[in-house]
């Protein structure tokens, strides 16, 4: 052995990743210290054994097919943690809590050839637990960010843009499959007066409570959003005008009866509600909004604190 | 008597590689074609002893040429296929269609010479 080759063994043992050598019959030929330590088995005891008996958790069929591609084609093959979290059940040594007790791994399968024929398969196992963890955190943060782009900061219900996007979708769906769709739009009565009497903070408090109250009265598929400063809207899929009207009635009553506590005051509110149902004449979702709006206006001009149904 | 040769390949470089590999006695009467249709045209108008034929060509590919010649029984020319498509099924197909031999690209001089010898051309 030349001087350099003598160091190879030492170097592979110092590497912070696993090196595993298999023959074409899936028998373990050699592995390095990393694996000896993490798998907690002695090479001398398991050398020559089938990899599947040393690591029974390996998906055998998949593994065999993967190795076959390496042997036959003489090209490397890869397995990333993003597709399979790990192949070999090795404990990870990270001080952080991750979703799994096992090390996340990136594995590389390489052919070791002699005279252009693959004699051995070298499997490189990289510990990517950190990467996996931070990537998941990043993904979650980005999802939260995306969500915050859809939510109205004050009331924590959908903002107008997202609500309208939802309406566009629901509208298309109802139109396409000929399903029922109704819309409720409502406006806080005398909101300007309320702000004058209790200040903007009072007004905000009213909006927050109102949103919570209404949310508690809706079903899972209903889409509630803040349409304007004191204007709100609800999309009611699979609901006809009767169902929507019934809900509108309950909303009007509940909001009117609610006591909103602000500082030492008890604020009473009411809303004017417009109700409309999708019909054949509506070609765009805007026309549905229009109908509900007209009905809302009618409710306002008829004395407020009531709901009105679009003709 | 000098044998006349036709080289049919859409690649200029591939044609040159064949020319370069031809023994001297076969280099004096060489015609070139860039696709199957051109090759058939040449065969109609000129007597060709040996054709080196590529498979993957536009207009009419090598298999098309072989099929055409087989159906029409119109030529006595010896056809040697030289191709990048080296799958065994393709090799047997061209032999069935009447080619004398199949050679892998890039063509090697000794392989070419050996094939020509085996089929009585040298």
């Amino acid at each position: 052995m030349s001087g350099l080759e003598a160091y190879c063994g030492e170097i592979t043992d110092k590497l912070n990743c696993g090196i595993l050598l298999l023959d074409v019959d899936f028998k373990l030929v050699m592995w390095n210290q990393f694996l000896e330590v993490h798998a907690n088995k002695k090479l001398t005891e398991i050398s020559g054994q089938s990899i599947f008996s040393i690591f029974p958790e390996l998906p055998q069929r998949w593994f065999e097919r993967k190795v076959a591609s390496v042997v036959q084609l003489g090209t490397p093959s890869f397995c990333s943690w993003e597709q399979r979290h790990h192949l070999f059940e090795l404990p990870h040594t990270r001080p952080i809590t991750t979703g799994s007790e096992f090390m996340a791994q990136n594995c590389t399968f390489s052919p070791i050839k002699k005279n252009n024929i693959t004699e051995y398969i070298c499997i490189l196992i990289e510990d990517v637990t950190d990467v996996c963890y931070y990537q998941s955190m990043l993904k979650k943060a980005m999802n939260d960010l995306a969500l915050s782009n859809r939510i109205d900061g004050l009331t924590q219900i959908f903002n107008r843009k997202h609500w309208e996007d939802c309406l566009a979708q629901e509208f298309a769906r109802a139109h396409r499959y000929d399903h029922k769709l109704s819309l409720i739009m409502f406006d806080l009565d005398h909101f300007k007066l309320l702000n004058d009497n209790y200040g903007h903070q009072g007004g905000d408090q009213v909006l927050i409570e109102l949103a919570k109250n209404v949310t508690s009265m809706l079903r899972l598929g209903d889409v509630f959003g803040r349409y304007g400063g004191e204007e709100f809207a609800i999309i009611l899929p699979e609901t006809d005008i009767n169902g929507a009207s019934e809900l509108a009635g309950r909303l009007q009553k509940s909001i009117n009866q609610a006591n909103i506590v602000f500082q030492k005051n008890c604020i009473k509110t009411s809303v004017s509600i417009g109700v409309a149902e999708l019909d054949k004449t509506d070609n765009h979702y805007e026309s549905l909004i229009s109908k509900a709006d007209v009905a809302l206006y009618k409710a306002k001009s008829s004395g407020r604190n009531q709901f009105c149904v679009s003709e | 008597m000098v044998s006349s040769v036709l080289i049919c390949d859409d690649s200029n470089m591939a044609r040159k590689q064949v020319i370069r590999s031809l023994p001297e006695e076969l280099s004096t009467d060489v015609t070139l074609a860039t696709n199957g249709l051109e090759a058939l045209e040449v065969l109609k108008n000129k007597h060709i002893d040996i054709m080196f034929l590529d498979l993957t060509m536009p207009e009419l590919d090598g298999v098309g040429v072989l099929q055409n010649l087989k159906e029409n029984n119109s030529t006595s020319c010896a056809i040697f296929v030289i191709s990048a498509d080296v799958q065994p099924e393709m090799q047997s197909k061209v032999l069935e269609l009447g080619a004398r031999a199949f050679m892998r690209k890039p063509v090697q001089v000794d392989v070419l010479v050996k094939n020509l010898q085996e089929h009585g051309f040298l």
């Binding site: 036959q72 084609l73 990333s80 | 690649s11 200029n12 470089m13």
Partner: protein, 201 residues
């Protein structure tokens, strides 16, 4: 374009690619235990910016598997296999797995890696080189990450060599574009080898 190839060089490159394609398909056919029908691979050199834009602006959902390769004498680049979404189904069958043995993503990544590495290995041997590969990565056009990814490759690539490959495998036919993104240094080296080959003719 400073890196344009003349007619002879382009013809030579096309031929090198044909031969690589032929051998790679043969290997693939043996591995898949089927016959692979080969069409003439169409190659073109595309402008880097245009290409970037075309990838991300396509309205159809596209899947891209990207794999870096590197060899001696500065030969390196990124190979992209671009699939239209409809083609990326039923690949598990093709690869010899049960469909529930591996996810759609894994199937696409696996076959892409096989196509890329077998082709590049043969191509490399023809230009007297030997290549190593990075792990393949799947990008989809739905993610904004695709153009960012291309911008942040560890080299600035100057040429996109587009090789359109159509694979027809018995009952399946799928189409993908293989795009080789190559930096200046690598193109110069490839040109040198091409010139050497042409000179020997």
């Amino acid at each position: 374009m400073p890196f344009s190839l003349d007619e002879d060089q382009l013809d030579c490159l096309q031929e090198l690619i044909n031969v690589a394609m032929g051998q790679a398909s043969d290997q693939l056919a043996r591995y898949l235990d089927t016959f692979v029908f080969l069409k003439v691979p169409n190659i073109e050199l595309v402008n880097a910016q245009e290409f970037s834009k075309s990838l991300t602006s396509n309205n159809q959902s596209t899947a891209v598997v990207s794999q870096g390769f590197f060899g001696y004498e500065g030969i390196r680049g990124e190979a992209l296999l671009v699939y239209q979404h409809k083609d990326s189904n039923h690949i598990a069958d093709l690869l010899g797995y049960d469909p529930d043995e591996l996810s759609d993503e894994e199937q696409l990544i696996d076959i892409s890696s096989i196509l890329t590495t077998t082709f590049l290995n043969v191509f490399a041997s023809q230009i007297e080189n030997q290549l190593s590969y990075n792990a393949p990565k799947l990008l989809t056009s739905e993610q904004d990450s695709m153009s960012e990814y291309l911008d942040h490759l560890s080299f600035s690539w100057d040429i996109a060599l587009k090789v359109n490959i159509t694979y027809q495998v018995t009952d399946y036919s799928f189409n993908c574009d293989m795009i080789l993104l190559i930096p200046e240094s690598a193109i110069i080296d490839i040109k040198t080898v091409i010139d050497r080959i042409l000179e020997a003719l």
